[in-house]
Symmetry: C2
Subunit: 528 residues, 2 copies
Amino acid sequence: MTTKTSTRCRITKSDLKVPFVEVSLSNGERLELYDTEGPQGCDVQTGLPKRRKEWIAEREARGDQCFTQLHYARKNIITPEMRFVAIRENVDPEFVRTEIASGRAIIPANKRHLELEPMIIGRKFLCKVNANIGNSAVHSSIDDEVEKMRWSVRWGADTLMDLSTGERIKETREWIIRNCPVPVGTVPIYEALERVNGRPEKLDIELFLDVLAEQAEQGVDYFTIHSGVRLPYIPMTAKRTTGIVSRGGSIMAKWCLSHHKENFLYTEFDRICDLLRKYDVSFSLGDGLRPGCLADANDEAQFAELETLGELTHHAWERDCQVMIEGPGHVPLHKIDENMEKQLRICQEAPFYTLGPLVIDISPGYDHIASAIGAAVIGSQGCAMLCYVTPKEHLGLPNKEDVKQGLMAYKIAAHAANVAKGHPGAQDRDDALSRARFEFRWEDQFNLALAPQTARDYHDQTLPAQAAKTAHFCSMCGPRFCSMAITQQIRDMVDDKASPSTLAQDLRDKSEEFRAAGGSIYVEPKPR
Amino acid sequence: MTTKTSTRCRITKSDLKVPFVEVSLSNGERLELYDTEGPQGCDVQTGLPKRRKEWIAEREARGDQCFTQLHYARKNIITPEMRFVAIRENVDPEFVRTEIASGRAIIPANKRHLELEPMIIGRKFLCKVNANIGNSAVHSSIDDEVEKMRWSVRWGADTLMDLSTGERIKETREWIIRNCPVPVGTVPIYEALERVNGRPEKLDIELFLDVLAEQAEQGVDYFTIHSGVRLPYIPMTAKRTTGIVSRGGSIMAKWCLSHHKENFLYTEFDRICDLLRKYDVSFSLGDGLRPGCLADANDEAQFAELETLGELTHHAWERDCQVMIEGPGHVPLHKIDENMEKQLRICQEAPFYTLGPLVIDISPGYDHIASAIGAAVIGSQGCAMLCYVTPKEHLGLPNKEDVKQGLMAYKIAAHAANVAKGHPGAQDRDDALSRARFEFRWEDQFNLALAPQTARDYHDQTLPAQAAKTAHFCSMCGPRFCSMAITQQIRDMVDDKASPSTLAQDLRDKSEEFRAAGGSIYVEPKPR
């Protein structure tokens, strides 16, 4: 038996160059893992290769007016974006097309984001994770933000939201998009608010459409738009424990109160659709009235807004726009079902995109864990994308380590959801890692892990020697007694096809052999 | 309005000196939190005060032969231990008695653990968390182990398992128990194995009973005993991906195979019961055949053993012994229900005590999170105690920071379960923290958090100034715009008792006022 090396490397597949991480195990097994990290080694000034350039050029050349994937799907066209995600998800392209045509899935892919590696969001596909980045009032530089973006996709972020609110907001976004392999989302009302010097009552639809047009032209793939914060719902938040916690929601609530008028993002929704369809910017209909604590979960205000989001989903679909729906927030475990059930029904199965939810409120400093619990549960029920929460949630601005912690918690939640949904092949990686664990193939375990180097480092803290990585024991039980080894003996004893009575006889025979052989279960590992 | 200080301090209640942490908030509110940390400032050499000394002396003086809480409960006696936990859990002592009498709850309380602050494990009580400590092959000292114990109870461990396998195992345990305010559990087969130089086939019931007697005499409160690993079940593990992963399970499997005999912990179960009832050591019936990976979850071997644990529960109850049942391990989210449902039915509602379960296998380095997800879900379904998992699981030995991380993840899971079960008052702390969050009472938030200092430190990383702790904004949105503040305005506008039409009129009026006042929502915080 030749011993192979355990390796992990990037590959691409098909003429579309769909990226994967290939893990080759020391026993000859091979796994292809979904890869979000994008092309490596590109200069920030140049940006990533413009892989969608020709695809879009063709559509513009033939004079298309509506560029949405929904539009093409409805016309029975399988776009290169659909082919790309079909290979990524290992499904049939026609399946991708029908899911998009029905509105159950979206491919956020602005025609100006040529650097994008297309991905799909929908509950019949792999559950996705979003990471938020963005400078805030305090500090930031463009290099910092590009580095944060790269760091996020390195740890598996499927999309990124740029929530910058400070200066040079447009320039920062430009650099991020030109270097970003995953869809970029924004909350355009933040930039609109900057333009009116932070005075919500000065906002209007013309200004807002200007901001949308500029951001769409830059290549933003999806916009959070708080069209569901309707005037009559605002008083419903008065008795809440934490009122309105969405910044976008509170901006629009303030506008509505100042003017005593209906939200212009609601009344002018069709104009917004008309702009978005020209670029194929997807709607992420914001939940401006989401609960900010357990006490406010599933209340009248939240579900009233959800009804409106359902109505707007229908409008957007009529105008060929792609839509997903944002959800809470803070929801105790026993109230999660109702969110998912209502969202699917009211929004006609448009993809759901939740922030956690946190299942308790008393864990500042550990809210990535409290929310990953809710995220895993709602993901297993069909939530299509999970917006991460970092350990700094409610306390401060996340640094790089916080971003990694948040992403790890959410990659776990999303994977747990995929396994629970019975997503084809989702458990293959777990099974491969478990076999490696049973056979003490340490490097294979590390290479299959969500964070290989972290796993390797933790292992080395207790047993640093390289020899320990090929040892047939681990630091928990030590070399003297290992529970895994005995199973190997049991396995050796039991013939796969034996009848129960033969098994019993076998066990008696083997019991003799075992004792005769000295009854030792620990076998000295051979040097490789 | 006088401004009070936010404080957090220890108090005790009643003549029984039941410990609580009292949090006094700056708005005058006051909360009592469950406290596991035990009496402070005691010298290790002296040990904790022997608070149960007189309770036990009385029972011994009157010549009791059976000391179990189950025995007393069945005789309609409400013991001081029952009164103690009733105050701790804020329930009626008679309710505690009936739950114990029915076997649905246990108070692990060896009559020789006089330092114990009694606690109860049962699904109608607060969900509990166990932390494992113990030296292993490599390093350890007694001081280290006592310090680990103190560190664990500081972060909320409700019970501790001492899994030491190295030298001076008995002496280490003595120091731990004399200084430990929470129940201590062990897996006595580990010590028994040490006595036969690590050769399982040399084990027998006499040796095992000797070990039990010594440990019981020291004051161990519960024993994990793998009586369910029956000979006919062992071949069922042969086709598993990871075979037998429980050390106790594999020790007994090896014994059974070597002798081709039925497990002596099963055949001699009644003798074990007779010993345990003399001290009131509770059974923690071990799941020696628990799955070690997703692929093996809910399989024939696991559920065959569970049937036997159900049978043994009945036996133990007949002999007045208290029992809980250990459970998995590794279970994907969609297969957790079946575990809880089967355990409740087969074991006639005896408390369930699970290890996680981990809901995925690919997260080495982050298994505390992957398992906290499973723990929260099974806890919400009625699992009574959750054995924690640290970030080092599957990789190495946990250090102090790992222990804290594991406990935080599990305190979150247990609290999420309590809230989801609708446990009376469980959400009060969340609601108090949310109100503090809404009102920017930062010190109140910290004092209500699971880890106050961690929350404070994280906050300080972004906004170190003391002034920021009284500021009416946080670092996420900055001082310029804060979503919480607008709700306060909405609240001011809406009269609690107004009819909908009045509300609408109010809104119009207030809208005018608001604009007239400059439309600013940010109010400069007054120095306190």
